[in-house]
């Protein structure tokens, strides 16, 4: 209990994971994971396919429940909270594969997270178009991600790279304190890659960011610390230089590449 009431000093990590375990039957997908992100961190999570990176994000957002261990947000324990309650405390995420409102317009896609956050969605009698505050904020997000020109178009009609931007725009519209980016550039053709990179490199420095990414160029440019996850466990953690020099990391990735070739 004392941890819950600890004063939130600048030293209190924005996100802290302690001895987190998750198993599906005999399968260990998260084994004794420890992680600490100071406020405003730019932290990357890398590892071969099936290492449990997305599972870890799901454990942080509460989409799946941990078998053992603790998750703390700004010093307060959230392990037992539902996904919705964690969202209200300021956790937002993007998905590896787009989870958009495909048949709705771009503006409506960004409208929803804002009206959910402000409680406007509880109004049954007022016109959605008269929620000026919600609409103005949605437009501001579209403006900063340069999606204004597509505001009226259904998301399904946008090129994939711009759909990925909408994915990020929705998460940002939640005004997160902690943002979890699950392979934001996945599936984006290299010609549109810079759109995503520009956006994530210009994120508000007050937002704590955990990013999963396969593209090492992105990781090394963006992150100041990197955690390597292998088979559900933390292999190592360090600065990009540490990781680049680490033989074990190289072996893991090299091994994967050779396996693919074979």
């Amino acid at each position: 209990m004392s941890e819950n009431v600890a004063p939130r000093t600048a030293a209190t990590p924005a996100l802290e994971i302690r001895n987190l375990h998750k198993n599906f039957g005999a399968l260990n997908v998260a084994a004794d994971i420890n992680l600490s992100l100071p406020r405003g961190a730019r932290h990357a999570l890398i590892g071969p396919n099936g290492a449990g990176k997305t599972t870890l994000v799901n454990l942080i957002t509460g989409q799946i429940k941990a078998s053992a261990g603790k998750v703390l947000l700004n010093g307060g324990e959230i392990t037992a909270l539902s996904q919705a309650a964690r969202t209200r405390r300021g956790i937002a995420r993007t998905f590896q594969v787009n989870r958009l409102f495909r048949n709705l317009t771009v503006l409506e896609n960004v409208y929803l997270p804002i009206s959910e956050r402000t409680g406007a969605c509880n109004r049954l009698w007022r016109s959605a178009g008269k929620e000026t505050v919600v609409i103005e904020e949605a437009l501001a997000h579209l403006q900063s991600l340069e999606l204004m020109a597509d505001a009226r178009r259904p998301v399904r009609e946008l090129p994939y790279g711009r759909q990925r931007l909408v994915e990020i725009a929705i998460a940002l519209a939640q005004r997160p304190k902690l943002l979890l980016l699950d392979e934001p550039a996945a599936g984006v053709p290299s010609s549109e890659n810079h759109l995503i990179l520009d956006v994530i490199s210009q994120l508000d420095p007050r937002i704590t960011v955990l990013i999963i990414e396969h593209d090492m160029d992105v990781v090394f440019r963006f992150a100041s610390r990197i955690t390597v996850l292998v088979a559900g466990a933390v292999l190592t953690e360090g600065t990009p230089e540490d990781i680049a020099a680490d033989e074990r990391v190289r072996a893991v990735y090299l091994g994967e590449r050779e396996a693919r070739r074979g």
């Binding site: 996904q83 929803l112 959910e116 009698w125 016109s127 008269k130």
Partner: protein, 344 residues
Amino acid sequence: MDANNPPAARNEDAATERSRASDFLVRRDRFRAAEALPWALAIAAYFAFPNQMILGGQTLIMILFALSLDLILGFAGIVTLGHAAYFGLGAYAAALLITDFGWSEPISGLACAAVLAAIGGFLSGQILLRYRGLTLLVLTLSTTIMLQQLGNLFRDLTGGYDGIPGVNIAPLFGRFDYDLYGHTFYLYCLAVLLISFYVVRRIVYSPFGQALVGIRENVARMHALGSPVHWRLVVVYTISAAFAGIAGGLFAQTNTLVTLGVFDFDQSAAVLMMLILGGAGWLYGAFVGATLYMVLQNELAKISPTFWQFGIGLLLVAVVLLVRRGALGKLAILRRYLPLGARQ
């Protein structure tokens, strides 16, 4: 943007850009001239077919029933095969109020029907709406069957399949009595439908309605946004049940007899067919579908009293295969004149 422009002009440009981007959303709920058409037709029908007003009244009741289904199916994506449960609850509430409590004022009868059906929707929704897809389909179907059999068990109260006769309501506002040709009833039903439609329309275009569409389109993302999905569904299900109950109440009042037949699977299936015929999620699909269904049923039954459902079946097959989003879906030109935003 031109750097030489004075800041005021630039602000104006930005404002224009913003209003251009959000105009469709801001104006979505405005009434279009074309929306007056179904109401004008309904009034024209009153004068053009004075001998068909009984059928007309029944059609208006079914439009209201289909509209209540559209709210949950078309907008929130709740698929149900048991919507007759709330229609039936409303019908019995309106009937029992007269026969057992001796209260025959019609409008308070409808209020009573709405409340009982809403309570039914709220309670059953707590459990039903935890499920989706096939499970939900089976659960809604069996809930309605159980309700019907409960009615059969308490035959003293419900009259079983023989029903409750003598559901005679007092004159409307204490002044307008009912004629044999159903003229008063027609206007009464039309007024109730108009008010109900206005309420449903407001809900659909509210932020709450927008959240329902979000749930229909991507429930997982709504969870991730922290939306109280289950609660939202229970709320809209309760509202929908209330309107189905009002339709049932009107049905009881116009037919002067209610039997357990109101809970029949046929009822649930018919209202679903009407909505699919007209198109779900358009608001006006209920008008097109229910009218088409009722008129066809009437005309086909004249040709062949035993075989009329074949014609309806054939039409439904054609609509589902050829016009996937109902009759209104095909008329894309209507998009310009109707507020079809929620379906874009």
